[in-house]
């Protein structure tokens, strides 16, 4: 299967991993510990159902409905559950809102804690040493690599997810987005903007 031939340079090493995964899966199924159909259902969930579109809908609602925004910032787990999003790696959600004075950035220096219920599975870079090591000591440098330059006076607030709280950044609503529907607004909310390494898209730049 061509999909087993990974991107990247360490081809032989990755093939070795693929073989180990296959051996494990075969054994776990053969010994009756896991249901192969459950494995497919797990993959399908995170490929097709749970992803950053969830979080984008939450943010768009927070932009358009002040009462919802207030509920989200007070108890994000409950406010997100209003959309039917709940569960694994979203049991204890905290929403943090950007403002002209403060930009929020989320990291897990110790592993890969991430709000799955609203953002899906984390990207590779979020789990990699380069991001995890630098987000807490050089957040402006990290943001610059993502193409985000903030005024030198903007306070940067880094949230290291060292316990069971999972953080969702509510980016600032772009200026010139008046009159857009909630659905149109949700299309401006990128995954990166909800981690804090990006900003919401401008409706002008993203219009197609």
């Amino acid at each position: 299967m061509s999909e087993d031939h990974d991107h990247g340079h360490d081809h032989s090493e990755l093939s070795e991993v693929a073989l180990r995964v296959r051996a494990l899966e075969t054994l776990l199924v053969e010994k009756g510990y896991v249901d192969p159909a459950a494995l497919d259902a797990l993959v399908e969930t995170y490929e097709l159902k749970v992803g950053p579109r969830n979080g984008a809908r939450v943010v768009a609602r927070a932009w358009t409905d002040p009462a919802y925004r207030e509920r989200l910032l007070r108890d994000a787990t409950a406010a997100v559950a209003e959309f039917g999003y709940s569960g694994r790696q979203g049991e204890h959600l905290v929403a943090v809102a950007n403002s002209p004075d403060q930009h929020n950035l989320v990291v897990c220096t110790l592993c890969s804690c991430y709000p799955w219920s609203v953002l899906g599975l984390p990207p590779v870079w979020y789990k990699a040493p380069s991001y995890r090591s630098r987000a807490v000591i050089d957040p402006r440098g990290v943001l610059a690599e993502f193409g985000v330059t903030l005024p030198a006076t903007t306070n940067i607030r880094v949230w290291d997810s060292t316990a069971e709280m999972r953080y969702l950044v509510v980016p600032e609503r772009p200026s010139d987005s008046e009159g857009l529907s909630e659905q149109q607004l949700a299309a401006l909310v990128t995954r990166d903007s909800m981690i804090g390494v990006g900003l919401a898209l401008s409706p002008v730049g993203s219009a197609s």
């Binding site: 087993d4 031939h5 990974d6 991107h7 990247g8 990755l14 991993v17 296959r22 051996a23 494990l24 899966e25 075969t26 776990l28 053969e30 010994k31 009756g32 510990y33 896991v34 249901d35 159909a37 459950a38 494995l39 497919d40 259902a41 797990l42 993959v43 490929e47 709940s86 569960g87 694994r88 049991e91 204890h92 220096t109 110790l110 592993c111 890969s112 990207p123 590779v124 870079w125 990699a128 040493p129 380069s130 991001y131 090591s133 630098r134 807490v136 000591i137 957040p139 402006r140 993502f146 030198a152 306070n155 940067i156 607030r157 880094v158 290291d160 060292t162 316990a163 069971e164 709280m165």
Partner: protein, 219 residues
């Protein structure tokens, strides 16, 4: 433990591997790695903290060079052998040679949606009043346990302010080592970058951690 997982403040890893339009999975094996990790964890022979500890006890050179799903798989190999679900010969040969052991649960396809939607909340009733309150100034303890902990090295010995009292949660330092859930209060503690990194640090930056009460002392 002071393992390779505790990365905050380290240097030299190079630029962030940003990938435009990154796919959810980069290979079939990553999908299968995710699925077997979740499904095998559901069998109930270990908890999430034991799982994290199995990952952070990989040799540092291995931890730092593996793809993240390979870290998961390496830990899963350790845990399945350690708990007697599989043995090393089976893993090497890729075929079952011994009868299965009993496990508390099995995740069935029909239950996946419900189980994921329920998740596994880690908050628990508090067994004592919270020792700290919003606005208190605290010091993160200097401690270097050889066992699992979630107090990152960069915060140890540093003075911060309690910004939120989150409630009582399963205490990983205990739960990872068979000591039971032993719920403790968790606080969001905010530090200035200057406190953490020195006078040269950016005065506009603050960093918070979420810390269990035993990690903190009054400053």
């Amino acid at each position: 433990m002071n393992g390779a997982q505790d990365l905050g403040g380290m240097m030299g890893f190079g630029p962030i591997e940003i990938e435009r339009n990154e796919p959810i999975f980069h290979a079939t094996w990553e999908k299968r790695a995710l699925a077997i990790t979740l499904a095998t964890g559901f069998c109930g022979l270990w908890n999430g903290d034991i799982g994290r500890h199995a990952r952070e006890t990989l040799p540092p050179a291995a931890y730092l060079s593996k793809r993240y799903y390979d870290i998961w798989i390496s830990a899963l190999e350790k845990l399945t052998v350690f708990t007697g679900m599989l043995d090393v010969v089976e893993l090497r040969e890729g075929k079952a040679l011994t009868p299965p052991r009993e496990v508390p649960n099995k995740l069935l396809a029909a239950d996946v949606a419900r189980v994921l939607a329920r998740g596994a909340p880690y908050d628990r009733p508090a067994t004592a009043p919270a020792a700290f309150a919003f606005g208190d100034t605290i010091r993160a303890k200097v401690m270097n346990p050889t066992t699992h902990t979630r107090l990152p090295r960069y915060a140890r010995g540093k003075i911060g302010v309690i910004e939120a009292v989150r409630g009582a949660f399963v205490f990983p330092d205990s739960n990872a080592h068979g000591g039971g859930e032993d719920p403790r209060w968790v606080y969001t503690v905010r530090f200035t970058a200057r406190e953490l990194w020195g006078d040269e640090a950016d005065a506009t930056v603050t960093v918070s951690i979420d810390a269990w009460e035993p990690y903190l002392e009054r400053a």
